[in-house]
Amino acid sequence: MRPLDLGYMAELAPVIAGYVPLTLMMAVIAMIAALVLAALLAIVRVLRVPVLDRLVAVFISFFRGTPLLVQLFLFYFGLPQVVPPMTGIDGVTAAIIGLTLHFSAYMAESIRGAILGVDRSQWEAAQSIGMTQGQLLRRIVLPQATRTAAPTLMNYFIDMIKSTSLAFTLGVTEMMGAAQKEAAGSFMYLEAFLVVALIYWAIVETLSVGQRRLEARLGRAVAR
């Protein structure tokens, strides 16, 4: 067994860290899109909108019931064969779309749970003062539901960041791709992938600290 080549790792770290912005960009865009989509899906479920409700149920079931990797391959390799506008879709876009749909399905379920957690009498009170369905969702229900769901949604964001590494399989040179290329030249696979792991770990730890602070703040706001 040879010792770890720390010097090589130190050299490699900045190179791989150079791809952190790409990783974060994919995760942030997919997260924002997934949040919007998830909120819409959750509302359709909660209000039991005819027809749409059934479709959304199937959508959620499919994206929770199949592996993300399979979904990404479907978008990147499969769909372009039957949907002409999708030919020439690049790996980054396909990854963002895949992450968005996949995570929106999970997030819709937690948002739905949080919406149902807002006590019924608040819905009725909002209706009784003449608010429209849209007003009561926007002003009363969703702000509370978001607060309840925030810790879970934050966990999904962390999961999403880690899942961007799957874009590698769509030919995107992100952190994994870069490490793979470097290691192919140096044969130091352990060091290269260890650097990737440490960078992911550092990002996630940083976010976890932020998450704890956010939770403490949200907790205070409601208890005041």
Binding site: V118, D119, S121, Q122, E124, A125, A126, Q127, S128, I129, G130, M131, T132, Q135, R139, I140, P143, Q144, R147, V222, A223, R224
Partner: protein
């Protein structure tokens, strides 16, 4: 006799269960009517139907110049009706993400389209009337039950509604808070706010109401001035009920 508020043939079924069986009720401007009756008799459902929190199956509701045929009420009519009525809930129904003051302004700014400044001025007036001038910035979770229900009533007051509907406003309260809430309702009643209140507090109903309505089995069995209903009830069912509640 002019009916400011006129309810005709109001009917509500839950499945095969007819909960309201053709309710007729006429309220004159400023009239305060208390509804009493056994549990499960449709008292809450009656109030909820007037606000379309439960959708009635049949009947005609008239509030001033607004007439709504329950069976074919449009969304716009339902909103119009809600904008002229105010509801006080047994368990307050305060917006947990809004301060006491915001609970009062919400209906004014969002529904009535008032400016924030005007709504806040009105809210502060009402906070003073309900004895919470210094708690405007508090969230419901930090208020006592009695304070929360006073905010709930304040929210209804702010709307300056043609009809205030109160569904057992004190039954969820710890006994220590009942008095302050009843005092507040008494003051609103003294201001001749037209109101329909469901209550189990017989003494209170007797004091504040112009008229008592006794309901049983989804129907109005008997109605009349408090002195007559409590002193000389005509119907055997009314007598039995009043004997039971003491």
């Amino acid at each position: 006799m002019s009916c400011e508020i006129d309810i005709r043939g109001l009917t509500k079924r839950f499945g095969a269960n007819t909960v309201l069986d053709g309710i007729d009720l006429c309220l004159q401007p400023g009239e305060r009517v208390a509804i009493i009756g056994p549990s499960g008799t449709g008292k809450s459902t009656l109030l909820r139907c007037l606000n379309f929190l439960d959708r009635p199956d049949a009947g005609v509701l008239k509030l001033g110049d607004l007439t709504v045929d329950a069976a074919k009420a449009s969304r716009a009519q339902i909103l119009a009706l809600r904008r002229r009525t105010a509801f006080v809930f047994q368990n307050y129904g305060l917006f947990a993400n809004k301060t006491a003051r915001q609970n009062l302004t919400e209906g004014l700014t969002v529904v009535r389209g008032w400016s924030a400044a005007r709504a806040e001025a009105r809210a502060d007036e009402i906070l003073a009337q309900i004895g919470l001038a210094d708690r405007g910035d508090s969230y419901p979770a930090s208020l006592s039950g009695g304070q929360q229900q006073r905010v709930g009533i304040g929210r209804a007051m702010a709307l300056d509604a043609d009809l205030m509907l109160l569904d057992e406003p004190t039954s969820a309260l710890d006994p220590e808070w009942v008095g302050e809430v009843l005092d507040l309702i008494r003051r609103i009643a003294d201001g001749r706010q037209t109101m329909l209140i469901v209550t189990h507090e017989m003494q209170f109903a007797r004091e504040i109401a112009d008229r008592i309505v006794f309901m049983e089995g989804g129907r109005i069995v008997e109605e009349g001035p408090p002195a007559q209903i409590f002193g000389d009830p005509r119907d055997a069912r009314t007598r039995a009920f009043l004997r039971r509640v003491g």
